[in-house]
C-alpha cells in the first residue's frame, strides 16, 4: 500500500508534531511510539497513558431488529445485554473460525455500537451485510464521525473526571455512559486493552485534539501502538491477526467463556457446539522464557526434537522484567509448569508455560 493510500485519524497532525514514529497499521498511518515504547508502557502501569485508537471501527445499529440481528453474528447473547453495558465477544464464520473480536455496547433500547479491529473493519462490514435482513435494522458506519481515545492507567479516571462533570468512578467496568465533555457529547466506556483501569472515550472527531490536549495538560503520556501491544500481551489479551484469526476457534484460544453457541439463529452455532463438545485439540497458552532470548511471532515451539506449535506473540515485558509470549500447543501439553523450548532463529531456548494473564492489577499490586 502506498503511503498516500493510508488513512489518517483526526489526531494525525498531533502525532507528527509530537515526533511520533509512524507506521502503517490496518490500513491507517498510526503512531508506533513517541519517545520510547518501554517508557510509555511504564507510564500506563504507574500513572496514565492515552492512545489514539480512532483506527478501530465504529459501527452503529439501530432499529427494532438490531438485537436479533447482532445475536446471529456475535458470540454472546445480545438481547440479554442491558442498556449502558458492554460485552466482549468474537465474530465467527460458520466453521467457528474467528473473523474478528469486538466489543458491543448497548446504547439504548434499539441502539448498539460495535467496535471491531481496524484491519478487519471491511471484512466485518461485508460479513454483517451478508446477514443483514431487508428491514428492521439500519447499519451506520460512524468510524470517521467519532474519534476514539483510550485513557488507561491508575490515574486515568481522575484525569478524565476533572474534564467531565460526571463522576466516572461510579461507572463500573464494562459500562458506557453518554456525558458532556469539552462542550460536546461523548461516549465514555470503562473498557480498554491494557490490563489497567481506564476509559475509552468516543467523541465527535472535531473535538479529538481538544481532548488530547486536555489530557496532556493533566499529565497523561502519549502512547503508541507499540506500548499498546506490550501491555495487552502482559494482560494476556489476544490480538486478532497474531493470536486469533479465521484459522482458530474461540475454544482453543481461551475465549470459550465469551461464547454461547446454543442460541437460535446464531450463524456459527452448529460448528461451535461441535468444537465445544469435542474439546479443543490445541490451546493458546502463555509462556515465560527461562533462557536468554525473546520469542517472536512465527518461532517454533519445541518439545525436545518435536515441533508442537508456533509462537503467536512474543515480547519483552517491562512490567515483569522477563520475556513473555503466547502460542498454541497440544492441549495435553498446555498445563502451567510444562517446560518447552522456543526455536529462536536456530537457538533452542527454555521456556515454561504459565497461567494467563502474565500481569493483572490485583495479582501484581
Amino acid at each position: 500500500m502506498k503511503e498516500s493510500d493510508l488513512r489518517q485519524t483526526p489526531l494525525h497532525e498531533k502525532h507528527l508534531e509530537l515526533g511520533a514514529k509512524m507506521a502503517p497499521f490496518g490500513g491507517w498511518d498510526m503512531p508506533i511510539q513517541y519517545e520510547s515504547i518501554l517508557v510509555e508502557a511504564k507510564a500506563v502501569r504507574s500513572n496514565a497513558g492515552m492512545f489514539d485508537v480512532s483506527h478501530m471501527g465504529r459501527i452503529e445499529f439501530t432499529g427494532p431488529g438490531a438485537a436479533e440481528f447482532l445475536n446471529r453474528i456475535l458470540s454472546s447473547d445480545v438481547p440479554k445485554l442491558r442498556i449502558g453495558r458492554a460485552r466482549y465477544g468474537v465474530i465467527c464464520n460458520p466453521q467457528g473460525g474467528i473473523i474478528d473480536d469486538a466489543i458491543v455496547y448497548r446504547l439504548d433500547e434499539e441502539r448498539y455500537l460495535l467496535v471491531p479491529n481496524a484491519g478487519n473493519a471491511d471484512e466485518v462490514i461485508d460479513w454483517l451485510k451478508k446477514w443483514m435482513p431487508d428491514s428492521g435494522v439500519t447499519m451506520n458506519i460512524i468510524t470517521n464521525n467519532l474519534s476514539m481515545i483510550a485513557v488507561q492507567g491508575p490515574r486515568a479516571i481522575e484525569m478524565l473526571d476533572s474534564i467531565t462533570t460526571n463522576d466516572l468512578s461510579k461507572v463500573r467496568p464494562f459500562r458506557i455512559v453518554e456525558a458532556p465533555l469539552l462542550g460536546t457529547d461523548a461516549l465514555l466506556a470503562r473498557t480498554g486493552y491494557t490490563g489497567e483501569d481506564g476509559f475509552e472515550v468516543m467523541l465527535p472527531s472535531g473535538s479529538a485534539v481538544a481532548l488530547w490536549d486536555a489530557l496532556t495538560e493533566r499529565g497523561a503520556t502519549p502512547c503508541g501502538l507499540g506500548a499498546r501491544d506490550v501491555l495487552r500481551l502482559e494482560a494476556g489479551l489476544p490480538l486478532h491477526g497474531n493470536d486469533i484469526d479465521a484459522t482458530t476457534n474461540p475454544y482453543e484460544s481461551g475465549l470459550g467463556r465469551f461464547v454461547d453457541p446454543d442460541r437460535d439463529g446464531y450463524v456459527a452455532g452448529d460448528a461451535l457446539q461441535q468444537i465445544r463438545d469435542a474439546g479443543p485439540g490445541r490451546s493458546l497458552v502463555g509462556f515465560v522464557m527461562r533462557g536468554r532470548g525473546i520469542a517472536r511471532q512465527g518461532h517454533h515451539i519445541m518439545n525436545g526434537p518435536d515441533q508442537i506449535g508456533e509462537v503467536t506473540s512474543g515480547s519483552v515485558s517491562p512490567t515483569l522484567d522477563m520475556n513473555i509470549g503466547m502460542g498454541y500447543v497440544p492441549t495435553g501439553l498446555s498445563d502451567g509448569g510444562t517446560r518447552l523450548q522456543i526455536d529462536v532463529r536456530g537457538r533452542l531456548i527454555e521456556a515454561e508455560i504459565v497461567p494467563l494473564p502474565f500481569y493483572s492489577r490485583r495479582k501484581n499490586e
Binding site: Q33, I37, L38, V39, G226, D229, G293, R296, N323, R345
Partner: protein, 129 residues
C-alpha cells in the same frame, strides 16, 4: 546526530576505534540506536571467536524488531561487553562509550581503509534521509 570524528564507520551503522595497543573497539552508531528504539536484547560472540570483516557479529533486538549486527573489522574477538548483555539499554544511553559491543584483535589493520570517515558517514546518513 552525534558522529564522533575519531571513529571509523561501516555503512551498516557500526563504528570502530583502534586503541593504541592495536585492539579495535566496535559498537553501533547513535543513529542506529535511535532508529532501533529501546534495545532489550543483545547477543554477542564468545571471546575467541574469529570473524571476517563485514560478517555477522551478533543480533540486537528492540521491543518490536530483531536486527543483525555486522562487524566493521575482522579478527579475533577478545572481549564481549558484559554490561551490554546484562543491561541492553546501555547501548541507547551511551552508544559510543559504555555501550560498546566487542573488542577485536585485528587480523589486518589495512581493513580500516575499507571504512568511512565521520564526514563520509554523515553524508551517508544525509543521503538516507
Amino acid at each position: 546526530m552525534n558522529v564522533p570524528d575519531n571513529l571509523k564507520y561501516y555503512k551498516e551503522h557500526d563504528w570502530v576505534r583502534v586503541e593504541p595497543d592495536g585492539t579495535a573497539v566496535v559498537g553501533i552508531t547513535e543513529f542506529a540506536a535511535e532508529s532501533l528504539g529501546d534495545i532489550v536484547f543483545v547477543e554477542l560472540p564468545e571471546p575467541g571467536t574469529k570473524i571476517k570483516q563485514f560478517d555477522k557479529l551478533g543480533e540486537i533486538e528492540s521491543v518490536k524488531a530483531v536486527s543483525d549486527l555486522y562487524t566493521p573489522i575482522g579478527g579475533r574477538v577478545v572481549e564481549s561487553n558484559q554490561a551490554v548483555t546484562d543491561a541492553p539499554e546501555t547501548v541507547n544511553d551511551s552508544p559510543y562509550d559504555s555501550g560498546w559491543l566487542v573488542k577485536i584483535e585485528l587480523s589486518d589493520a589495512g581493513e580500516i581503509d575499507n571504512l568511512l570517515s565521520a564526514a563520509e558517514y554523515e553524508a551517508l546518513l544525509a543521503a538516507e534521509g
